[in-house]
Symmetry: C2
Subunit: 357 residues, 2 copies
C-alpha cells in the first residue's frame, strides 16, 4: 500500500513538473526585422537619435513592432507567451491579433515556414498558450510581433523539462536583408495576424530577412528615413510610399529620397511600387483620379531619373496588384490576407528576377 502511494505521489510530482511552464525573456534570442543595431528600445524601429528629428506621428509609429520576429529553438510540447503591449491599440477594420497579437511559425523539413498558431491578445498584458500537445521534438520557431502596437516586454514559455535555445539555422537568411519603406498597408494593415503582413510573407518566400519601415499615413518621404535606410547593408530597397505621399511631395522628394539611398549603394536594386488601384476606385471617381495623379507623378519622376542614366531601378505596376475580383481589401484601401498574398505574388517574382535572390 505504501509503495502504491509512493508511486502515485511520484507520478503526481512528474505530472506537476511537466505541467509547469517556465518563461524565458525573448531578449535572449535573435530579433529579426530591425534596421540596425542602434541605441534604443529593443522592439522599436527607429534609433533614439531620431527622436528630436522625426515628426511626432512618424516617431510614434516607429514604436510599433511591425515586421519584427524572434527566432528560437525548442523541444517543448507547447509554446506559451506572456507579453505587454505599449499602447493597447484597437482599430475597427483589423483584428486585435493583427494589431497587437503574436504569431508563431515553425520551420519544416522542406525548409519552408509553416503557421503554427497565433496568440490572441486579451488586454494590455496577455499570457496564453499558442500551441500544445506537440511531439517533444527539436523545432526551429519564428514568433512575429504586433503590427500596430509596440511590445514593452515579451517572454516565451516552454515545458519546465524541455529546453529553449538559439536557432541552429540562419533562416530566413539575415545577411543583406530586403528593406521596405511604405504606408499603413506596408505596416501590415489589415492582415488578420502578424505573419500575414506582406513583408513577412515575402520574407518567408524569399528566405531572407525583411525590414518593415511602414508608417501608417506617414510615408511622406521624410529624408531622415532615407538616411537611416542608407545605413543598412541591404540586398534591395523597396519604396512603396505612393498611397500616402501627395503629388507635390512625390515631385519634391521622391528623387532626393532615392538619391540619398543610391549615394551609399551605387549598385543595389531599388524598386518603386505604384499606388494600388484601390478597389473602391471603380465607384469613387475622386479616388480614381487621385490614384491616377499619384501614379503619373511617380512615373514622371522615375522616367526622369532613368533619362539621367540611373540604373538598377525598377517600377512595379499596380494594375494587377489586387487581382480582378475587387475582394482583396477590407475598406477599399487596406489589404486583407487575400490582398497581402496577392501583393506577395506580384512583388516576390520581381525581387527574385531583378535582385537575383
Amino acid at each position: 500500500m505504501k509503495r502504491i502511494i509512493g508511486i502515485l505521489a511520484m507520478l503526481l510530482l512528474v505530472c506537476h513538473v511537466y505541467a509547469q511552464i517556465v518563461y524565458h525573456d525573448a531578449a535572449n534570442f535573435p530579433l529579426l526585422g530591425k534596421a540596425t543595431n542602434y541605441a534604443g528600445a529593443r522592439y522599436e524601429r527607429f534609433p533614439d537619435s531620431l527622436k528630436n528629428i522625426s515628426r511626432a506621428p512618424l516617431w510614434n509609429l516607429s514604436r510599433n513592432s511591425a515586421g519584427m520576429a524572434i527566432r528560437f529553438r525548442s523541444n517543448s510540447t507547447r509554446i506559451a507567451v506572456k507579453w505587454k503591449t505599449l499602447f493597447d491599440n484597437h482599430m475597427n477594420h483589423m483584428t486585435d491579433v493583427g494589431v497587437k497579437g503574436l504569431d508563431l511559425y515553425c520551420l519544416q523539413k522542406n525548409g519552408s515556414w509553416r503557421f503554427v498558431n497565433s496568440a490572441r491578445p486579451a488586454q494590455k498584458m496577455t499570457q496564453t498558450t499558442i500551441i500544445e500537445n506537440m511531439k517533444p521534438e527539436e523545432r526551429e520557431f519564428m514568433l512575429y510581433l504586433p503590427l500596430y502596437d509596440g511590445v514593452s516586454s515579451l517572454s516565451i514559455g516552454i515545458d519546465s523539462l524541455s529546453v529553449i535555445g538559439q536557432p541552429m539555422v540562419d533562416c530566413p537568411v539575415r545577411e543583406k536583408p530586403v528593406v521596405f519603406y511604405g504606408t499603413s498597408i506596408l505596416q501590415g494593415g489589415c492582415a488578420s495576424r502578424p505573419g500575414m503582413a506582406h513583408t513577412n510573407i515575402i520574407s518567408r518566400r524569399l528566405n531572407r530577412e525583411c525590414i518593415n519601415l511602414g508608417f501608417s499615413g506617414n510615408a511622406l518621404l521624410d529624408l531622415e528615413v532615407a538616411e537611416m535606410m542608407a545605413e543598412i547593408d541591404a540586398s534591395v530597397f523597396v519604396l512603396d510610399f505612393a498611397p500616402n505621399a501627395s503629388v507635390e511631395q512625390i515631385k519634391e522628394r521622391m528623387a532626393v529620397f532615392y538619391q540619398t539611398i543610391r549615394d551609399k549603394h551605387p549598385k543595389v536594386p531599388i524598386l518603386f511600387i505604384e499606388d494600388p488601384v484601390f478597389t473602391h476606385a471603380l465607384f469613387d471617381e475622386m479616388i480614381a483620379h487621385e490614384v491616377e495623379d499619384r501614379n503619373r507623378a511617380v512615373n514622371e519622376v522615375f522616367n526622369t531619373l532613368k533619362k539621367k542614366g540611373e540604373k538598377n531601378m525598377y517600377l512595379v505596376r499596380s494594375s494587377k496588384m489586387l487581382g480582378e475580383d475587387g475582394e482583396a481589401t477590407v475598406d477599399g484601401v487596406h489589404f486583407t490576407d487575400l490582398g497581402m498574398m496577392r501583393y506577395a505574388d506580384l512583388v516576390c517574382p520581381v525581387i527574385r528576377r531583378f535582385c537575383k535572390l
Copy 2:
C-alpha cells in the same frame, strides 16, 4: 448685381440640397437570407416560436444577422448608412467590420456582384458614408448585415435629390435558396467583412440566395433547427456541423437530423461537409485526433445511410478545403478571407455539379 446675387443664392441652395443625405428605413426593401417569413424580429434568424424550445446560447446566436442582406436600387452619388447593433459585440480574432459592420456590393453590367466598400462600426449606433463621388447612374445594390451581432435598426442614406427603390432584377435568384447549417466558421468567423463569409461568396457565385444557419459553437444538431430548415423550399441543404458536434452527438443525431429534412424533401440534394483539417492539427496531436474521430463518425453515419438506400446525398471531403500552405486561418480554426475563398472554391463546384444550379 442683384441678378448675380440671386444666381449665387440659387447655386448655394442647390449645393445645400444636394449635400443633404436623406435616410430611408431598410425595412422598405427586400431582405435576403432569412429562412421563412415567420413571425418575429426582422433581422433575426429564428422565429419567435423557437424562443422557448431552443437552448439559450443557440437562441441568442439566432439574433445575429449572419448571411442577411438588403437589396435596393438607387441613382445616388453616395450611399450612407445608419444602424444600431443589438449587442455591440467584439472579438479579438475578427474585425469589428466583420462582427458588426455592413458591406455594400453593386451589380455590374456582366451580371456579377462587385464589392463597393464596407461601413466601419464606431459604436453601438453608427452613421457613416460607405461610398461617394459616384456617377449619378441607376445601380442595383446589396448591403450585407453583421455576422456576429444583430441589427435593431437600419437606414440607408442617399442624396436628397436622388431616388431609392425596389430592385429591378431578381439577383441573386430568390426562388429555392441554398440552406446552410453549421458552426462559427459558417456564421462567418472570421471574415474581414460580412460579404466575405463563405455563404455570401457562394451566393454571389451561384447567383442564388443563401440562408446562413451558422451558430458559433452551437451546431450540435438540435432537431428543431432541422424542422425549421425542412420548412424551406430549398434547392439544396448543406450540413456543416462537424467542427462543433462531438462524436457521440454525430452518432446519435446526424441521421435523425438528415431524416427530418429528407422526409419533407424526398429529392432535394443534401450535402454533408467533413470537419476541416484545422491548420494547427499539423502540430497539436490532440486536435488532429479529434478531427480524425469526428470525420470517421461522419463517414460511418453517411455510409450507413447510403447502404440503407438513401439517395441525393453527397459528402464533401475536407482534405483540400484550406489549401496546402497552412495560411488560411487566423487561429488554426477560423477562416480568414483566404480560407473563405478556398471553401467557396471547394464547395461551389460541388453544388453546381450535384444540384445543377
